[in-house]
């Protein structure tokens, strides 16, 4: 009894699915080519659409930790140093300002091009890099970002601003922070002042934090009015908007390169339709031996899914891998204008699956439909006509 029950137990796959498997593998080369074309199309489209979005989302998330407002003094020649004491007093009179920090930073020439230097106070660094660095830069020492030098840490770094100075590189910032520190050089604040030509008591700008995010925009007019000289304020939201705009341009470039991929999908659909129409005699034979239209449609569907689903899975995985693999940097050279070492990206994968599923659906849907439509159209046609029609053509 048990044996007969075992014999009657149906497997999880149906005969129809096995028949579809066999039908697909009767033309292995054709199947492989179709799967490869699909994988490449999904990988290209997915990567180009995913990359700008991933960078934008990650920068947005990282900017949450940035100061709410950056305030700089400007005049007709451009950026002007701020007197720290007077500027801080003025900023603190504005209701809603929680903290004000002067920053000393600017651009200098490094060995391989312009670099951003940042003056740090003693004692700030050990807290910031508690688990990564235990040193803070003393006079004549530098901590460099991942993209500054690829040489040994003991080598000197020559920086040229108002003066030309050599600095001993004592540590390298973690690769994981590259999106904000890639070409950053942390110096002792006195060295930074000397390189930038800033007098004591002056700073490059002020980093201001407000009590609530919604106050960023609201207190700008009060802030400007509180200073006796012209200032320019940039809020965190404005920064995020500018980055989003820049990345949108990259996204548009990506969309343009997607056009050939869409053409490739159109070609695949055409091939699929021609293939299905060319096998009308198969449909006729199936109908003649008693297959229902439902059976034929299901078999076609299984046949397409056997090829399309693994191809889509591989294509989506490759896209995901190319964009989100920890430490990926090849896109930086392509899109961000880096000539030498592009920034190392560690991107936030939230929402990636939705985009990839949309891309896969967009490419797979017409392909599967193109295989099914001839079978559905043949539902009302006589089996003899299908066989004869194929023979006639």
């Amino acid at each position: 009894m048990k044996n007969s029950a075992k014999r009657l137990k149906r497997p999880w796959f149906s005969t129809l699915q096995l028949w579809a498997f066999r039908s697909v593998f009767r033309r292995p080369l054709e199947t492989m080519l179709m799967a490869t074309a699909l994988t490449v199309s999904i990988t290209c489209v997915g990567t180009l659409l995913l990359f700008p979005r991933a960078v934008n989302d990650t920068v947005d998330k990282l900017l949450e930790a940035a100061p709410d407002i950056i305030l700089r003094q400007v005049d007709a020649t451009g950026w002007k140093p701020l007197p720290i004491q007077r500027a801080m007093q003025a900023a603190k009179t504005v209701v809603g300002v929680v903290s004000v920090r002067p920053r000393v930073w600017g651009l200098v020439l490094g060995p391989e091009g312009p670099l951003t230097i940042f003056g740090v106070q003693q004692g700030v660094l050990p807290e910031a890099y508690r688990h990564h660095l235990t040193l803070s830069p003393d006079r004549g020492q530098a901590i460099v970002g991942p993209g500054v030098v690829s040489r040994q840490l003991t080598e000197n770094l020559q920086l040229e601003g108002v003066h030309r100075d050599d600095f001993q590189v004592i540590a390298r910032l973690p690769d994981e922070t590259s999106m904000f520190t890639h070409d950053l050089v942390l110096l002792n604040i006195l060295d930074a002042r000397r390189l930038l030509g800033l007098a004591d008591g002056y700073a490059s700008d002020l980093a201001i934090d407000v009590f609530h995010e919604s106050e960023q925009q609201a207190i700008l007019s009060d802030l400007r009015a509180a200073f006796p000289w012209p200032v320019r304020c940039t809020t965190k939201r404005q920064s995020a908007g500018v980055y989003a705009g820049g990345l949108n341009r990259i996204g548009t470039l990506g969309a343009i390169t997607v056009i050939p991929a869409v053409l490739a999908v159109c070609l695949l659909v055409t091939v699929s339709i021609r293939k299905s129409m060319g096998r009308q005699s198969d449909l006729g034979i199936m109908k003649a031996i008693g297959w229902s239209t439902g059976d034929i449609v299901r078999m076609r569907l299984y046949g397409e899914l056997i090829v399309c689903l693994p191809a889509a899975a591989f294509g989506m995985s490759l896209s995901f891998l190319l964009v989100y693999w920890p430490g990926v940097n090849w896109m930086g050279r392509l899109f961000f204008g880096w000539q030498a070492l592009p920034p190392i990206l560690y991107l936030n994968p939230e929402g990636a699956v939705t985009v990839l599923l949309e891309v896969a659906g967009l490419i797979l849907a017409p392909l599967i439909a193109s295989a099914l439509i001839p079978a559905v159209k043949a539902a009302t046609v006589d089996a003899y006509e299908l066989i004869e029609g194929a023979g006639g053509s």
């Binding site: 497997p11 005969t15 498997f21 651009l107 670099l115 910031a128 930038l196 030509g197 980055y243 920890p326």
Partner: protein, 118 residues
């Protein structure tokens, strides 16, 4: 079980061609392997990337917060898109060492405008 189905399948053949016999077989195990490998690949990559991504974001946010950084280093230093404040319609605030300077002033010393004399 698969064997039974193969047998039934073989019975349903109308006119098997001798030349196609090599291809006219079922490969359920191979297909299952393809599907399972694909699924495993996607799952492993997802878990790996999510885990690493969150760690690096936390670390970078700590650095940004303590140093007071406000600009992402996506574009090279001095690039117009590096710092949002550079995009001023009236005044060129890029401070790039390779940009031509208009006036030689202490303000330019700070941003490195004098370096274009090199």
């Amino acid at each position: 079980m698969v064997k039974n189905y193969r047998q039934k399948d073989a019975e349903m053949r109308i006119s098997p061609s001798a030349s196609r016999e090599n291809y006219d077989r079922l490969y359920p195990h191979g297909l299952l392997a393809i599907v399972l490998l694909s699924a495993a690949f996607v799952a492993v990559m997802t878990v790996l990337s999510i885990d690493t991504g969150q760690d690096s974001i936390d670390m970078t946010q700590t650095v940004i917060k303590h140093l007071g950084l406000s600009t992402a280093a996506l574009f090279p230093s001095g690039h117009a898109l590096r710092d949002p404040i550079y995009l001023n319609p009236a005044i060129d605030l890029r401070h790039g060492p390779n940009l031509p300077s208009i006036i030689y002033s202490p303000e330019e010393w700070m941003h490195g405008g004098f370096l274009n004399e090199r």
